[in-house]
Amino acid sequence: MTDETRRAEDRQDTTHFGFTTVNRDDKVHLVRGVFDSVASRYDIMNDLMSVGIHRLWKRFTIELSAVRPGQTVLDIAGGTGDLSARFSTLVGAQGKVILADINASMLAVGRDKLLDAGAFGNLHMVQCDAQTLPFLDNSIDCITIAFGLRNVTDKQLALESMERVLKPGGRLLVLEFSKPTSALLQKVYDTYSFRILPMMGRLVANDEDSYRYLAESIRQHPDQETLLGMMEEASFVDCQYHNMTGGIVAVHRGIKA
């Protein structure tokens, strides 16, 4: 799919929900349903589905953020707070971490987990939509969105909103499923996602449909170069990406000029 057709589609009345085409207005509710239903089992499923590797992907993303004490970090679609927990210690008492998510159930699981982990008092939770971030212009040092962008209806709008709230020189990191670099890996990965994932979803989380949606939404997500183009379109500079685990996942980085 080219940038243009994707953009055009993004602005139309219908959009993708996994492989199904749905009304744009409905997607938000459908995505919410998915995460309402997976929230309580979300962390264990993450470990199972990725055989623990998601922790490495997140760790490398945090390294790339180069976040320092005293900074303000916004973790969009932060869900159960894996990245926020780490950022909370990195920015220290003088800094601030905002864990933002559209879904109250995911935030609730995140809050309990972070409290248990004894996170600093520098953590704030905000329920909001990535497309319309309720923060001041030029107010954030670093934004991360991990495995969240593919769920957002208008990704371009969301990227523009992130660009707006970042300080000049601030950086955006997008961690997301992407396109495997080898055909063999793609094949195995397809079998895994469409056969084994929904099965695990059924057995562990008793929720086959949600995990089928996750697998499908990964395939609908823009590939490495397309996402890079979208970031540039949203005025980010010095955009680059790193493929991980053979391109199953990529982390994109862009700087606000």
Partner: protein, 213 residues
């Protein structure tokens, strides 16, 4: 925009190294105190062949952060080949080793030597920290795999060197890394099997319950 190594793989190595050393450090308050005095020191290990860079940051708590990426400014940079680094890692007299080797050092040498001594003095156990880093699912398997790859003994330095070079060269260049993929497939397969077994057990159970009603 191709990394020389899969960052996830390098991250597995740095995370494992960090967790293992820090775990051992929790049992060595003396070493921790020594390290804490060097807080905020960053040592950049820049290996030329094979090309990998890792960064070791010493924290105020006297622990280490090991990463594959760092933007810290004042680093002690050590550059050389894998052979030089291995020789340094297992040297009895690292100071002499440093002077005589081809390693290039930019910045302070003292923290590097202290760190080398502390690490070689410790008895490193891979398993528990790996489970912390990766979770139960993959931690145990990776620990076993690493134990094979990094068997940290002076007698084995020859084979260690060979294994390490092979590990870094092979795993680093191929995309996707063959061994990682294999492990991943095996995991998926065995997971699939276990899931299948579980499913049939559940069905049996359900039948039994139905039968009783």
């Amino acid at each position: 925009m191709q990394d020389q190594h899969d960052p996830a793989l390098l991250t597995a190595a740095t995370a494992a190294l960090e967790a293992t050393i820090n775990q051992a450090l929790t049992l060595a308050p003396g070493a921790r105190k020594e390290l804490a005095e060097m807080a905020d020191t960053v040592i950049a290990i820049d290996c030329s062949t094979p090309a990998v860079a890792i960064f070791i940051t010493i924290t105020e708590q006297g622990k280490l952060e090991v990463s594959g990426y760092s933007e810290a400014k004042n680093k002690t940079l050590v550059r050389g080949s894998l052979e030089d680094f291995l020789a340094l890692a297992i040297a009895d007299d690292p100071a002499a080793m440093l002077i005589n080797s081809d390693l290039e050092i930019i910045g302070q040498t003292a923290p590097l030597l202290t760190l080398q001594q502390i690490i070689t003095r410790m008895d490193l156990d891979w398993e528990a920290p790996l489970v912390n880093v990766l979770g139960d699912v993959a931690g145990h398997q990776l620990a076993q795999w690493l134990r094979g790859v990094f068997s940290w003994s002076k007698d084995a330095s020859q084979s260690l060197r060979r294994q390490l070079s092979e590990f870094i060269l092979e795993e680093g260049r191929l995309s996707p890394p063959a061994a990682e993929l294999d492990v991943f497939f095996d995991d998926i397969q065995s997971l699939g099997l276990r899931v299948d077994r579980l499913a049939s057990q559940l069905q049996r159970l359900a039948r039994n319950v139905d039968g009783r009603d």
